[in-house]
């Protein structure tokens, strides 16, 4: 590190990063898009600042502005960004180059894309000190090796000589972190560093980031849409809405004593422990996020705010105002002093619990194996991937069965087999007393097809981009032989739009004119076109913003109640699963490792994997005390599963099983009281001695 670069006479008691009234616009052919307006925040030395907000609110834009990397069409239109007292906005390229990488480093969402595929890891790491402090090549590689060890990667010597694609996603993200730390920067910007990773891997990365931050005394700007994660990592946060900071302050104060209606609404729309789909349903924020160039007059949140006051809130621009007495806590609301923040939620409607009926779907010993060829050139030996192993369960009418597991555990394969897109290798599937395991969808009759439907994960993919919304729903009606004439079908289509609470005018729209949540609703309408009885929802809300998630889940629940639909809810997000499911099935590497009612699964005894999974999910509630269990390593590939118990490579309870049974033998499914099933060698006594992972502190 060149001391000259770092020694700028900056006083460490002043903020290391100070953003003042920053405005950023993107200039496109049609118009100017004001992505960020009047944004201010400051980060002190050693502090971790969180930036939360929904997609498109301008979080990444702020981060990139600090790096002065806004692309060709992005411009800082006003304000200053001071780093150690020097204004970044008017630095030239050479000055910026010296700061980038050595004083400010950035970590992005997609680790794979951020590493050069054609360069060895070591070379990419060693480059940083070689550029910034002229370190010799050997020293730089040595340092690289050491930092790789610092980010807790096994076998650093092998890793520095590897290419990025030879590492797993979690390992790649650690490398990206290592790269950022190579020059021991004063400020680290992390833009959703864990969004692409599985929860258990995320937990490891978050831990690492926190520890390293403390170890090196690095300040952080941590961007995330996940409030729980922010609480885990940050000291302070700044809530953004539509290009503005709306509330900023100390994490605990903002979480417990929020002073902005948007923050409040946000917390009410996320499933915290204690929420329940019937007695305490979530409250979604009405309306939609405004586009940057279509913001309302006055308060941006006005049209969606419960406390909106005509004439006042939509009159002038709203300034930030300090909350006196708190630690640099401020809110961009005119009425925050007038609002009764402790008032109970008024409009919460309590819903009838749906009745659970007869069994409609029963799977027994279902197996699905794929044979794939490995090797670079399509040759190589054929390998069998066991995507689903001995899956047995039943689902009842009106019930929500959640299927939980991380990527690659076989959730989607299971859905495909059920839908008939693939046929099972062995085992049986009984659907309404009909045996369908070897009937591909082409051979199923229309009734059968229309009664089992699916809602997909990616809202941007779920609708055909070149067909109107109405046409797509009508097509489903035609295929399901609904309605006698075109007219009848048209009317039915409009009713379906009503059902998913979309305006009828949307029938004429093209999918690109809809927001993510709206598209997802159309997808739901399409799935219910033939009066579906069993709906497989494959992560239907995981790609949506939190405020929209609540609305879409509630919609699904409402339709379920009305139609007595059986919902198979596939998800990796345990918070939402706890909120809406009746029974839960946890999968790991193609095996069901635990199954039971929601209460059984979320309370001890746990399967060791469930325990880790539960502890990994960040919860945005200061009252919740969570035991941290960080799993070592990554999920093994389904191509080479470990022998014995599939979870044995990462299990912390393994030592409690005598005789190394876990390494050798596949554990049996134990049935505990109340039909709770756990696939583990642990004895009942050990299982019963487990402690709950989550405790809610007494108020």
């Amino acid at each position: 590190m060149s001391d000259t670069a770092k020694d700028t006479g900056w006083d460490p008691s002043k903020p290391i990063l100070e953003i003042n009234n920053l405005s950023i616009s993107f200039f496109t052919r049609l118009r100017e898009i004001p992505a960020v307006m009047d944004f201010s925040c400051s980060v002190m030395a050693g502090e971790a600042m969180g930036l939360v907000g929904e997609s498109g609110c301008g979080k990444s834009t702020v981060a990139l502005a600090v790096m002065r990397e806004l692309g060709k069409n992005g411009k800082i239109t006003a304000g200053t960004i001071k780093f150690k007292g020097r204004d970044l906005t008017n630095m030239n390229q050479e000055e910026l180059r010296q700061i980038r990488g050595s004083e400010i480093a950035m970590i992005y969402q997609e680790p794979m894309a951020s590493l050069n595929p054609a360069m060895k890891i070591g070379a990419q790491l060693a480059e940083v000190p070689m550029i910034h402090s002229g370190m010799s090549k050997e020293d730089a590689w040595k340092l690289a090796r050491q930092i790789v060890a610092d980010v807790r990667l096994p076998d650093p010597d092998r890793i520095v000589n590897a290419y990025p694609h030879q590492l797993s996603g979690g390992q790649q993200q650690r490398i990206v972190i290592a790269m950022a730390l190579m020059a021991k920067p004063a400020l680290l910007i992390l833009d959703e560093p864990t969004t692409a990773l599985d929860v258990t891997v995320e937990a490891g990365i978050v831990d690492l980031v926190k520890d390293l931050g403390e170890k090196y005394g690095t300040s952080m700007l941590f961007i995330s849409h996940n409030l729980g994660l922010i609480m885990d990592v940050c000291d302070r946060l700044c809530v953004m809405y539509s290009g503005e900071a709306v509330e900023t302050g100390n994490v605990v104060q903002v979480f417990d004593k929020m002073r902005h209606p948007y923050t409040q609404a946000l917390f009410r729309s996320i499933p915290l422990p204690g929420a329940d789909k019937n007695s305490r349903p979530l409250i979604s924020i009405p309306g939609n996020f405004p586009l940057p160039h279509e913001r309302p007059q006055g308060c941006n949140f006005g049209p969606r705010c419960d406390y909106f006051q005509d004439g006042r809130c939509n009159g002038t621009d709203i300034p930030m105002s300090e909350v006196p007495g708190d630690d640099r806590h401020a809110s961009r609301c005119l009425r925050w002093t007038e609002i009764d923040w402790a008032a109970p939620i008024a409009k919460r409607e309590v819903k009838q619990k749906a009745e659970i009926g007869k069994v409609v779907l029963k799977m027994e010993d279902l197996k699905k194996y794929y044979s794939v060829s490995s090797g670079a050139f399509g040759g190589g030996a054929k390998k069998v991937v066991k995507a689903n192993e001995t899956l047995s369960f039943e689902a009842r009418e009106g019930e929500t069965l959640a299927i939980v597991g991380e990527s690659g555990c076989g959730k989607s394969t299971f859905a495909k087999v059920l839908m008939g897109l693939e046929t099972a290798t062995s085992g049986s599937i009984m659907l309404f007393d009909e045996n369908v395991q070897s009937t591909p969808i082409q051979k199923r009759n229309t009734d059968m097809v229309s009664s089992v439907q699916m809602v997909f994960q990616n809202p941007f993919d779920t609708l055909n981009p070149s067909m109107t919304v109405g046409r797509q729903i009508i097509r489903a009606l035609e295929i399901f032989k609904q309605g006698k004439s075109d007219e009848e079908r048209h009317n039915r289509m409009l009713e379906l739009l009503d059902l998913v609470k979309l305006p009828r005018a949307f029938a004429e729209r093209m999918p690109r004119q809809l927001s993510g949540g709206q598209k997802q609703r159309v997808g739901i309408a399409r799935a219910f076109a033939g009066g579906a009885k069993v709906v497989v929802a494959d992560e239907p809300v995981s790609a949506l913003d939190v405020s929209v998630q609540a609305a879409v889940t509630d919609l699904l629940m409402d339709i379920q109640r009305e139609n007595k639909t059986t919902l198979l809810f596939i998800s990796h997000d345990l918070s939402i699963v706890r909120y809406l499911s009746d029974r839960v099935m946890v999968m790991y590497l193609g095996h069901v490792v635990e199954m039971g009612t929601t209460d059984q699964v979320f309370q001890p005894p746990y399967h060791p994997y469930t325990e880790a999974l539960l502890s990994a999910v960040p919860i945005a509630d200061t009252k919740v005390i969570r035991k941290r269990i960080v799993l070592e390593g990554d999920i093994p590939s389904a191509m080479n599963p470990p022998p014995g118990c599939p979870f044995q490579t990462r299990c912390r309870w393994k030592s409690q099983v005598p005789g190394g049974l876990c390494d050798r033998e596949m554990p049996p499914m134990q049935t505990l009281e109340g039909g709770h099933q756990i696939k583990c060698h642990l004895s009942v006594e050990v299982l019963n001695s487990m402690e709950p992972v989550i405790k809610i502190a007494a108020e």
């Binding site: 052919r29 897109l421 969808i441 229309s450 699916m454 779920t462 055909n464 070149s466 035609e478 032989k481």
Partner: protein, 387 residues
């Protein structure tokens, strides 16, 4: 009569093209006025490159269309005594009612170069876009199932496509475009097969969309098939009883060969895009609805591949134009008399070093058309990527 100077030649030529200028101005005025309503076509008018390309292409399209008004002389007529006349020279024995000068000179048998160039545009634009369109239908009809179904089917079709692609084009042409081949009837057989693809394509397109409503389906399918079969009989076998559709054996041969060499390229592109698009959720949604494979391919996948296909279509018309020129260059063109650009270059090159103008005019014309198509494709690609 005095020969014309270069300035006068330019003026006279500009004047001859008057209908084209008017048409161009009208097209551009209307398009720019309504560009926001015209989807991708409208967006083209935001890109200077695309606009230039479009203008060049439309220049030649209108030239082909108004050729009868633009030409100054009969492109096939020979004017004795004017062999290899230089540009601007006057006719030796001018007809008082007719044009008096060879604007761009005369060729080795004393035909007017300017008129032949203008008529050549018509020849080229009669064949190139139609042949490209047929190649697209063939490529799409084969590429969709190859990409979508994969497996053995894909292996077999891809193998055949690679077979054609590995053939040096010129060799193929030398083998296919010969009078002997016509005697045997191979072009007719090939036409019989290749022209089936569009019929199949249209049939499947309508059927997969309307099969849920048989009366409607039967009506549409009936009408479409009647027209297709009529055209098929006329084009492939030259046996249209009404004489509307038809191609001379020579033309058919060239046409079929060009379609044949172009289809594998289209096939590859379509196949690649299908493999990409078929992983989308809306395709899976179609499958879980129990939708037929052809519906998914034609209505769920194909429309979403249209951007790159349109771009490729423009590029490929240019490529086809070059191919037709190549054929003409080797004397394999439609007919020796034909004023098409390739053949004209072929005749001109024999005396090239001494009298360059007969070859130069069609050469530059061909180059400008291909350039226009390339620019158009570039503009379209750029605009379709934006927003």
């Amino acid at each position: 009569m005095e020969p014309l100077s270069w300035g006068q030649i330019l003026l006279a030529a500009l004047q001859q093209f008057l209908p084209v200028w008017v048409a161009l101005i009208v097209t551009f005025a209307l398009s720019i006025r309504y560009k926001r309503k015209l989807a991708l076509y409208g967006k083209l008018f935001d890109s200077p490159v695309g606009m230039i390309g479009f203008a060049i292409v439309m220049f030649w399209v209108f030239t082909a269309f108004f050729a009868d008004w633009i030409i100054t002389m009969d492109p096939l007529a020979q004017f004795s005594g004017s062999k290899n006349a230089v540009p601007g020279s006057a006719l030796t024995a001018p007809d008082p009612d007719a044009y008096t000068h060879f604007l761009l000179g005369a060729d080795h048998v004393a035909r007017d170069v300017f008129s032949r160039m203008v008529m050549g545009a018509r020849e080229v634009l009669k064949i190139a876009p139609a042949a490209t369109l047929f190649a697209f239908m063939v490529g799409i009809t084969l590429g969709l199932p190859a990409g979508y179904v994969g497996g053995k089917l894909d292996t077999v079709i891809s193998f055949i496509a690679n077979l054609v692609l590995a053939f040096p084009v010129i060799l193929l042409f030398y083998l296919l475009v010969t009078p002997e081949i016509i005697v045997i009837g191979i072009p007719t057989y090939m036409a019989a097969i290749l022209f089936l693809f569009p019929i199949f394509f249209i049939g499947i397109l309508i059927n997969s969309r309307y099969f849920t409503n048989p009366p409607q389906r039967n009506l549409y399918l009936g009408i479409a098939m009647a027209i297709c079969v009529w055209a098929y009989i006329g084009l492939a076998f030259n046996a249209d009883p009404l004489g509307v559709w038809g191609m001379s054996p020579n033309l058919l041969n060239v046409f079929v060969s060009v379609v044949f060499v172009n289809s594998p390229g289209v096939f590859r592109i379509v196949r690649g895009m299908v493999m990409d698009i078929k992983t989308r959720d809306y395709v899976a949604a179609g499958q879980t609805r129990g939708e037929g494979a052809w519906y998914i391919m034609l209505w769920e996948i194909l429309p979403n591949a249209r951007g790159p296909l349109i771009v490729d279509f423009c590029l490929r018309i240019g490529y086809t134009t070059i191919l037709l020129g190549t054929l003409g260059f080797f004397g394999l063109g439609v007919s020796p008399e034909s004023p098409d650009w390739g053949s004209t270059i072929n005749y001109g090159r024999k005396l090239l070093a001494m009298v360059p103008h007969p070859a130069l005019a069609p050469a530059l014309a061909l180059m400008s058309l291909v350039l226009g198509l390339n620019l158009l494709a570039d503009g379209l690609r750029e605009e379709s990527l934006k927003d």
